[in-house]
């Protein structure tokens, strides 16, 4: 007899059980002379997420039992390590609903994945006067690689604006698309505003003109289900360390016909078929783009992180995070003088704000004394901070392990900031 649960999100999300998986979350900060300080309230997961025991253990186990270089050994360990490494490629493909694991290129970071496309695809297929469309809310990682291409090839960068809520202006985007457009590179979820962009529509409009689209999924892949085939992304980049995995892991998804016609990004071992001084031939993707020994242990850790996320359920995680965002937004909005930047409908669990009369850097220092870790500054998105005329902001971001009590701690620490400054 089958016992099926109609709606998995109806199962209560047990956040305390989840927290027990993350060793760092039980620590205190600002301990003095053996006296415990404040419990850590970690609201900076959009910068980098903490790691569950499952990830730490997987990496330790791999190092203790199976570690070896990959793709090059006939010996037992090398084959074992290769099998485990390549299995993660399959996990990533399923995570993004890619048609095949050969669509998945491992990089060091999402930043490197964007640079790979700009360098390889950009230099091969874009030339002077061609246009790349980005949005005003891009992370510097999805601006600067295109500016380097601009300097190198004379391409032009066009910028899609957002409205005062932080919603992408689709009409303006449609107007920017032209015969000169050769690539669109837009975030799938803003790291400052939390805005989720209409990826499918962005891709559809670009494809009407035969223009490929790259999405920066560094935040989006963390907070919901990404289906690269459904949105019809040509390129999709994400990073492992925001997905509860280790640093040093990034992913480039690419449609295979595009990857196949792209020249190598870096040269070295593992990406060649044969090397001679008369001429070298390159492997097919993804190997073509993976020169040198990759972050093997870290990729194993990323695989464990994806397993962990799947074990909790991505819908359940998203529902939990959305509840926290709604709760924290409501509480924080009630504090006089607090302005929330980014109010797009359906946004991700990212809460940027300013406190009237207090610089965000001072906000950050004071809430930190209460154990509350937030990011302050321009969040690597300087053009956006200018757009909203606020300069730097403080940013709280919510993850699968945060609680309503932590949202309360944020709010009371912000009230303390105001009292401190008499603001």
């Amino acid at each position: 007899m089958d016992t099926q649960i109609a709606d998995p999100t109806l199962i209560t999300y047990d956040v305390e059980r989840v927290r027990a998986d993350f060793p760092v979350l039980s620590r205190t900060v600002h301990d003095k002379k053996g006296k415990p300080g404040k419990p850590l309230v970690y609201l900076d997961s959009a910068a980098s997420a903490q790691k569950p025991r499952q990830v730490i253990d997987a990496m330790t186990r791999f190092l203790e039992e199976d570690y070896s270089n990959i793709h090059r050994g006939v010996h037992f360990l090398s084959q074992t390590a290769t099998d485990q490494f390549e299995a993660v490629r399959g996990k990533v493909a399923r995570f993004l609903n890619a048609p095949s694991e050969r669509n998945i290129v491992f990089t060091r970071s999402a930043t490197e994945a964007v640079n790979l496309v700009a360098h390889s695809y950009g230099r091969a297929f874009l030339s002077e006067g061609d246009e790349v469309i980005v949005s005003i809310m891009e992370h510097h990682a999805n601006i600067v690689p295109w500016q380097l291409l601009q300097a190198d090839k004379g391409v032009r960068i066009k910028v899609v604006p957002v409205d005062d809520r932080g919603v992408l202006d689709l009409d303006a985007y449609a107007d920017l698309l032209s015969d000169r457009t050769k690539l669109v590179a837009i975030t799938h979820c803003s790291n400052v505003l939390g805005t989720v962009t209409p990826a499918k529509e962005i891709a559809r409009l670009a494809h009407e003109r035969g223009v490929p689209v790259l999405f920066d999924g560094s935040q989006a892949a963390v907070h919901g289900v990404v289906d690269v085939q459904n949105i019809d992304a040509d390129f999709y980049v994400m990073t492992g360390h925001k997905l509860y995995g280790p640093t040093g892991t990034g992913v480039l998804y690419g449609k295979y016909d595009l990857l196949k016609k792209m020249p190598p990004y870096q040269g070295g071992g593992d990406m060649i078929e044969s090397v001679s001084f008369e001429g070298t031939t390159f492997k097919l993707p993804p190997a073509r783009f993976e020169a040198g020994t990759p972050a093997i242990t870290e990729v194993i850790g990323l695989g464990a992180a994806l397993d962990y996320i799947e074990s909790l359920g991505r819908e359940a995680i998203a529902a939990h995070e959305h509840d926290l965002l709604r709760y924290a937004t409501e509480k924080l909005s009630q504090v006089e003088g607090v302005r929330i930047i980014g109010t797009a409908p359906g946004k991700g669990p990212i809460l940027s704000f300013t406190v009237e009369g207090v610089h965000p850097h001072d906000v950050g220092t004071i809430v930190d004394q209460y154990g509350v870790a937030v990011r302050v500054g321009r969040h690597c998105a300087e053009p956006l901070s200018e757009r909203f005329g606020v300069g730097p902001t403080a940013r709280a971001s919510f993850a699968l392990y945060n609680t309503r009590a932590e949202a309360d701690a944020l709010v009371s620490s912000v009230i303390a900031v105001k009292e401190f400054f008499g603001a």
């Binding site: 600002h30 003095k32 300080g37 404040k38 009369g357 207090v358 610089h359 965000p360 850097h361 001072d362 220092t365 004071i366 004394q369 302050v376 500054g377 321009r378 300087e382 901070s385 300069g391 730097p392 401190f420 400054f421 008499g422």
Partner: protein
């Protein structure tokens, strides 16, 4: 914990942060340098009027946190009227104050003791290493302006 915060944000700092002194652009300034902290986005322009080796006027504009604004404001108060050498000695001594324990302070030549006493309120930043850059940003820019450079970065 809160004691350290009070130590960092002393009343005098909060006052300078809210009501910065010499927050203007003098018409007759003949040196200027930008001070920028790319991490947090603090940006100041420091303006100097140097004549015969003396800082006749010093002022600043820009935006930053309470610590960096207060430090810039206090810097303009103590540097005005100093010779270039005296201003640089103050910069070096102040830098030590923000970054080193008392017994490690170097000798940077004769320094205005009264000015240093005023600046003592900034020493709380030593407990907050990431905020040292805030406290020293305007000073780096002032020093750059004296040396004829147009910018200083605290990174």
């Amino acid at each position: 914990m809160m004691d350290e915060l009070r130590e960092l944000y002393q009343e005098v700092i909060l006052d300078h942060g809210k009501n910065p002194r010499n927050f203007r652009h003098p018409d007759d300034a003949n040196r200027e340098a930008k001070g920028e902290n790319p991490m947090c986005g603090d940006r100041f322009m420091i303006y100097l009027k140097l004549k015969d080796g003396v800082v006749e006027d010093v002022a600043f504009q820009g935006r930053g946190c309470a610590i960096s604004t207060a430090s810039a404001s206090m810097m303009t108060e103590v540097v005005k009227g100093k010779t270039e050498a005296e201003a640089k000695a103050l910069f070096e001594t102040f830098h030590d104050l923000c970054t080193k324990d008392d017994h490690e302070h170097g000798d940077h030549g004769p320094v205005d003791e009264e000015a240093m006493e005023k600046l003592m309120v900034m020493s709380g930043v030593r407990q907050f290493p990431v905020r040292v850059k805030c406290a020293t940003l305007a000073w780096h820019a002032m020093n750059a302006a004296i040396e004829g450079q147009d910018k200083a970065s605290s990174e």
